[in-house]
Amino acid sequence: MTQIKIRNLTFKYPDSKSLVLDNINLDIKASSWTAIIGHNGSGKSTLARLIDGLLMPTSGLIEVDGMKVDENTLGIIHQQIGFVFQNPENQFVGATVADDVAFGLENRQISRLEMEDRINSALAMVGMTKYKNVEPINLSGGQKQRVALAGVLALMPKVIILDEATSMLDPRARQEILTLLKKLKKEYNLSIISITHDLNEIELADKIVVINDAKIAKQGSPAEILGDKELLLKIGVGIPASQQLQSLLVERGVTIPQKYLSLEELKNWLSQQLQ
């Protein structure tokens, strides 16, 4: 089932001539994980903001669950789509963890009684129950991003957009957040759209969309996209470790299956060969 439908979407800032996004057509399936990758300034963040109605398209159509994104539906759209931004500090509104999670609920006019339950369960989902009354100054970047995620989850959205949400975290915190997201996606049937440069995050996706120069350069499964070394180098995300290993083995005259293998698959293949 198509959850987000984008047709002929074009966007430019009012005072600029060049298009940020040029005639984008894209379908995103329900409970799927989509990675949007591309250069800095390729328009991928703009696309995410357009989907959430934080910006309005110059022309074209965006539908979320069959509902057109425009000024009248913004309230519902914001409820269905949770957005986690890049900088952990600049999206923390509350004076304490619980207050921050409550912020979105207060906006939805949830009663005080229900709020408490929802805050507790959202904090439990991200493993931050212990920190309920802690102030943001005493949290690490990874913990703040968890709280941001809890704030989003408390509103029970269907889609979560991560706009380089792990890029300011250290590798360990990044891995923890990704593992958490994988688990949450499965448990709550969420759709995830992640905008990222991180190869580990890209590999989690069911579908990868490459945006280059305001257009969709290519879209497809991870195997299709991650196998395309030229494209990956061109957009600057680098080549996955498994691909590097594959080409090094080929250089040394080892015959390897022609298709894309993830690190795990390559490991299994190699150990089979060695037996």
């Binding site: 957005f83 004076a95 207050d99 912020f103 979105g104 949830i110 005080r112 989003v152």
Partner: protein, 267 residues
């Protein structure tokens, strides 16, 4: 964080005052500050001082720590008092030079000002040492509620206030970072006369302002994404409830007021 308290920072210990409702604490502090201006002789001055000492005792924060907090402000107090001594006239004159003179009235006035300064600063430090900033914001929001009748956007003001308070430590951190960055580029903040020192503030303030605006914009987008609409009604997660000990505190305040009035009328 080090143990030294700065003027206006919260001291996380347990005490009767910490447990009190922030609203009653705020009201007590405001009323107390107003009462200070009714002081006209030794007896009333001592009466209010005794009340303050009781509050300090109940706050479970050592007197020494309060002194640590007030110390940085002491220079300003001393300058004000010195001006008051030298430039006010009236009563018996002890010494004069040009327009400066030390007179009896000047001395009495400066003594009163010294007293008011120290008492007011200490009283507000008692409030901030025992109440977290967001609680004070909540209490202010409650106090401002009646202003809704005259169309004052109380909810927006409260949210602004609490966000501003929430970002104080963040901006402090940022200031330290920028200072380090500018030091790495060769600025020496500890040398030169007062004019060069002020000039050296410019390369701190400009990046600080630019970054704050960027932060504000990102925060606004994040708030919008979470469904914030400044004109829509909102529910409130944090709720204040009155307890019996708040009534005792109000009673205590009543005793202080009546005591002051009684001393003024009788003596």
């Amino acid at each position: 964080m080090n143990n030294k308290i700065v003027f206006g920072s919260y001291v996380p210990v347990k005490s009767i005052l910490h447990r009190l409702d922030p609203r009653i604490k705020l009201i007590m502090c405001i009323v107390y500050v107003i009462l200070i201006f009714f002081v006209n002789d030794w007896l009333t001055a001592l009466w209010l001082l005794a009340a303050l000492f009781l509050a300090i005792k109940l706050s479970n924060v050592a007197l020494k720590q309060y002194w640590q907090g007030i110390k940085p402000l002491f220079l300003i107090i001393l300058i004000t008092v010195a001006f008051q001594i030298l430039f006010s006239s009236g009563g018996k004159m002890y010494w004069h030079w040009g327009i400066m003179a030390i007179t009896q009235d000047g001395l009495i006035n400066s003594l009163i000002i010294l007293y008011r300064f120290i008492i007011i600063i200490t009283a507000s430090t008692v409030l901030t040492a025992t109440t977290q900033t967001f609680q004070i914001a909540d209490a202010l929001a409650w106090l401002m509620k009646p202003l809704k009748v005259v169309k004052v956007p109380v909810n927006q003001i409260t949210l602004m206030l609490s966000i501003a308070l929430r970002f104080v430590p963040t901006i402090m951190d940022e200031t330290t970072k920028i200072m380090k960055a500018q030091r790495a580029r060769g600025i020496n903040f500890n040398s030169g006369n007062i004019l060069t020192r002020i000039q050296h503030l410019v390369p701190i303030l400009i990046p600080l302002f630019v970054n704050s605006f960027k932060r504000a914009e990102e925060l606004a987008t994040a708030m919008e994404a979470r469904g914030y609409d400044p004109n829509a009604p909102r529910t409130h997660y944090r709720q204040l409830t009155w307890h019996t000990y708040d009534i005792w505190a109000a009673l205590g305040l009543g005793i202080v007021i009546i005591g002051l009035l009684w001393i003024r009328i009788i003596f």
